[in-house]
């Protein structure tokens, strides 16, 4: 202690050990992560033609990230979904899965944050908000969330008298008072950045978490917890879980069904019909199989409610689902969200496919065609 040189070496050694672990060690452990596919083949290689995640920000979104940092948004907002055993983030609907280090490797500046006076933003871009919503929220958050403590940023907007097409009108609750704002380039950058915040893909090291509890806030959805383990045979359980993967997967080889019919199978009122407790899902098998191969367009009636929309042939790319995938995903939707109907086997799908031989690919069915007995 009395020899200055020895003392200095001592205090630097203790500091250096921690530096070795947290800086050198951590860097050699995961400093070279790179984007990858949702799942790897048996040899651990990235399958050909698969989408890689995460993706880099677009130029304007990158500029938006700089605005985000400069305005100090990170003081109140985190961008990380914690693991389930360490927090409530997934239950709160802030993400489908925990964040992992790979999600951040392409970010120039990582803004994880460590304080949440505002909600987490790791998946802000996948909550389905429009650009107008973002602009209105930035201009004056209280017009959207009256109790928000988020400071308004009027300096990013120009208030004007007469609206042109790109301007945004904000009406007060009673509708008497309305303001027209024109976003500056900085506001547009910020919105581009905020709507790019998504961790809505699976990676080899992390997959989506099945949610069991509901969330009253936002559009986050709910799946009934079901006790299947005691009564369901193993093969059926397998088929259901594989079918669920198809339903949830939004990458090559997946079905991407949840984007319209939602994770809770409730669809969206007026746009996409529900699958939960639907006469179409629980009814005729071949009708269901046909839709899963060729899609559906025009007006249909589900549980007495009319919908008029287009369902492209399911799958990525469209119409690419195999017989086995169709069997699995249909078995899944027939046995989820309180539904309970018989399973569909790949053989049944194959026979329907054989009966439709000669039909042009991608030729969508209509409700009328499906209900006509001649086929």
């Amino acid at each position: 202690m009395n020899n200055l040189a020895k003392f200095i070496s001592g205090i630097f050694i203790t500091l250096g050990l921690a530096w070795l672990a947290f800086v050198v060690g951590a860097r050699s452990q995961y400093g070279d992560l790179s984007p990858t596919a949702s799942s790897l083949d048996e040899d651990g290689n990235i399958p050909v033609d698969s989408d890689l995640h995460p993706i880099a920000l677009s130029g304007i979104a990158q500029q938006g990230a700089e605005e985000y940092a400069a305005l100090g948004c990170v003081t109140c907002h985190t961008q990380q979904v914690r693991r389930e055993d360490t927090g409530f983030d997934v239950e709160r609907g802030w993400g489908n899965r925990p964040s992992v280090p790979r999600d951040y490797v392409l970010q120039k500046q990582v803004l994880l944050g460590n304080s949440r006076i505002g909600p987490d933003l790791a998946n802000l871009g996948s909550r389905g908000h429009s650009d107008e919503w973002f602009h209105q929220h930035l201009f004056e958050p209280q017009t959207i969330v009256p109790s928000s403590l988020c400071p308004p940023s009027p300096f990013l907007y120009q208030q004007i008298e007469n609206a042109s097409s790109s301007d945004i009108t904000i009406s007060s609750e009673d509708g008497l008072d309305s303001r027209i704002i024109r976003p500056s380039i900085r506001a547009k950058r910020l919105v581009a950045y905020l709507s790019s915040l998504k961790q809505d893909y699976e990676l080899p090291e992390v997959s989506f978490i099945e949610k069991e509890e509901s969330d009253a806030e936002e559009e986050v959805v709910q799946t009934e917890s079901e006790d299947m383990s005691s009564t369901t045979p193993k093969w059926l359980e397998d088929q259901i879980s594989k079918g669920k993967e198809v339903y949830m997967k939004a990458a090559t080889g997946g079905g991407m069904c949840f984007t319209c019919h939602q994770i809770n199978g409730e669809g969206l009122a007026g746009q996409f019909p529900p699958l939960a407790n639907s006469d179409w899902v629980l009814g005729d098998k071949s009708r269901l199989i046909k839709i899963s191969m060729y899609g559906l367009m025009g007006e249909i009636e589900v549980n007495g409610v009319k919908y008029n929309n287009v369902m492209a042939p399911p799958g990525i790319p469209p119409g690419s689902l195999t017989d086995e995938q169709i069997a699995n995903v249909l078995t899944y939707i027939r046995n989820e969200w309180g539904n309970s109907a018989s399973a569909i086997s790949p053989e049944e799908v194959a026979s329907v496919r054989a009966s439709l031989k000669g039909r042009a690919p991608m030729q969508m069915f209509t409700s009328a065609e499906l209900s006509s007995p001649v086929q």
Binding site: V23, T86, S153
Partner: protein, 467 residues
């Protein structure tokens, strides 16, 4: 201990330097108080000054932390370290002009840094938010000051060193090492992905644990025996406490990353080491409090010592609370809540600043030869005590409310969780007003002693320069 006359010579040699650093520290304290008030006011009313882009909440909050740690903390560390080391070395302060010059550079760098933050050039790294342009100036001026402080220590008469010297020297040397590591890992040779976050978390928290904390502990190790006139009780434990902090603190600070997108071993090791921190905490509090409680009447009578003991008690309590909050089961609730504010304010205000106030009140009369009225010090003590306790209680209870409600996913975020925390923000605003008041009194006390008559002071400067 040396004779009175040699102490007087040493004090006189430190006069310029100490006065410069402590009066600038005082100004930064007021700047930080203003920012703290503005930030608290904005949390209670988001429309308050919202059209002024320079004063966005996110910027002000960061500016406040930087003004507090580097402005107030940095200057106070220089003043107190130089004076204590000079006294213990029984050596005069060398190169006061270079020290003051380096201090001016340091203060200018922070001024530009904070203006840079307000102007939208924030770097986004925890506790290193000031734009990178000012980093070289900070580092060079810091190294100059540290070098001259080491010169004082090297010329000590008694070769044997004691606890205050270890703590203060270690803190002075750790800072540039941390700073260089952070600079390298974030700007020169930037790490990818969340490695950046691990590093900036490590730097930001280590700054509190390895820079502010040891200086305050060292000052307490010096002031308690000096004022009470008795040796530290169970002093033989101090060396164990010192090396425990040196070995454990750099590891313990990363437990805040629990559950985040980093390898699991990082927060896990942080948690284990945080729990192990009970040893050095126990050592320091035994040393301080066993000594102080032998003569508690004297502690109460001496205002400087009252500040110091408030600080050491606060250190003990806050550190134990920190250990509890690092346990994963508790962290699950408290992580990301305003409990973070509780930790920060407890450490930099309730502990560090209170001990520095005590050190300044003890040193200034000896250095300048002018006494500060007891009533003024007493007013400062009581307003500080009340303000700090109110602030910490609000953050603690508010933080627990925040965490418990956030953990119930059925409650909507703004309209329910944050709405329930908002009353505590109103209390913190009130507490910051009290603290600002108290800090104005402190700065007034300091400035009045240093510059009793500005005109005379200018003449004295002229004379000094001529001499």
């Amino acid at each position: 201990m040396s004779s009175d006359s040699s102490e007087k010579i040493i004090d006189r040699s430190a006069k310029w330097v100490f006065s410069f650093f402590i009066s600038s520290a005082g100004l930064w304290l007021l700047v930080a108080a203003l920012f703290a008030y503005l930030a608290a006011a904005k949390l209670t009313d988001p429309f308050f000054l919202s059209s002024c882009e320079l004063l966005t909440y996110g910027k002000i909050k960061v500016a406040q932390a930087n003004a507090f740690v580097y402005g107030w903390g940095g200057n106070a560390i220089f003043a107190v370290s130089i004076w204590i080391l000079a006294r213990l070395a029984q050596a005069e302060v060398r190169g006061p002009i270079i020290l003051v010059f380096a201090g001016v550079i340091w203060n200018l760098a922070i001024t530009f840094g904070i203006l840079g933050i307000l102007d939208g050039h924030m770097s986004g790294h925890e506790m290193l938010e000031m734009p990178t342009e000012v980093w070289p100036a900070m580092l060079i001026s810091y190294l100059l000051i540290t070098l001259l402080t080491l010169v004082i220590h090297r010329s000590r008469i008694i070769k044997e060193t004691i606890a205050p010297q270890w703590f203060i020297l270690a803190a002075l040397l750790w800072f540039p090492a941390l700073f260089l590591i952070a600079w390298n890992g974030m700007e020169i040779n930037p790490a990818r992905g969340t490695l950046q976050t691990v590093l900036s978390m490590w730097y930001g928290q280590s700054l509190i644990w390895l820079w502010l904390t040891p200086v305050a502990l060292g000052a307490a190790y010096y002031l308690i025996p000096a004022i009470l006139g008795r040796t530290i009780d169970k002093y033989y434990l101090a060396i164990f406490g010192f090396w425990c902090i040196a070995a454990l603190a750099p590891w313990s600070v990363v437990h805040h990353l629990e559950g985040g997108p980093v390898p699991m071993w990082i927060p896990a090791i942080g948690t284990v080491m945080s729990i192990a921190m009970v040893f050095p905490i126990a050592v320091a509090s035994t040393n301080f409090h066993a000594t102080a409680f032998l003569d508690i009447g004297k502690v109460w009578d001496s205002l400087p010592l009252r500040f110091v003991i408030f600080g050491t008690l606060s250190y003990t309590v806050s550190s134990y609370i920190g250990v509890v909050f690092s346990l994963p089961a508790v962290a699950k609730i408290t992580q990301f809540t305003i409990i973070n504010e509780f930790h920060f304010n407890q450490r930099v205000y309730g502990f560090f600043s209170m001990i520095i106030f005590g050190a300044v009140y003890f040193a200034l009369p000896r250095i300048t030869g002018r006494e500060i009225p007891k009533i003024a010090k007493s007013f400062h003590f009581w307003t500080s005590t009340f303000g700090v306790l109110l602030l910490l209680m609000a953050y603690l209870i508010g933080g627990l409310t925040h965490g418990v409600l956030a953990g119930q996913p059925s409650l909507p975020w703004s309209s329910s969780v944050i709405q329930s925390v908002q009353p505590y923000f109103i209390i913190t605003k009130f507490a910051f007003v009290i603290l600002a008041f108290s800090q104005i009194v402190f700065v007034f006390n300091v400035w009045r002693v240093i510059f009793p008559n500005p005109l005379l002071w200018l003449l004295a400067c002229k004379k000094e320069v001529e001499a």
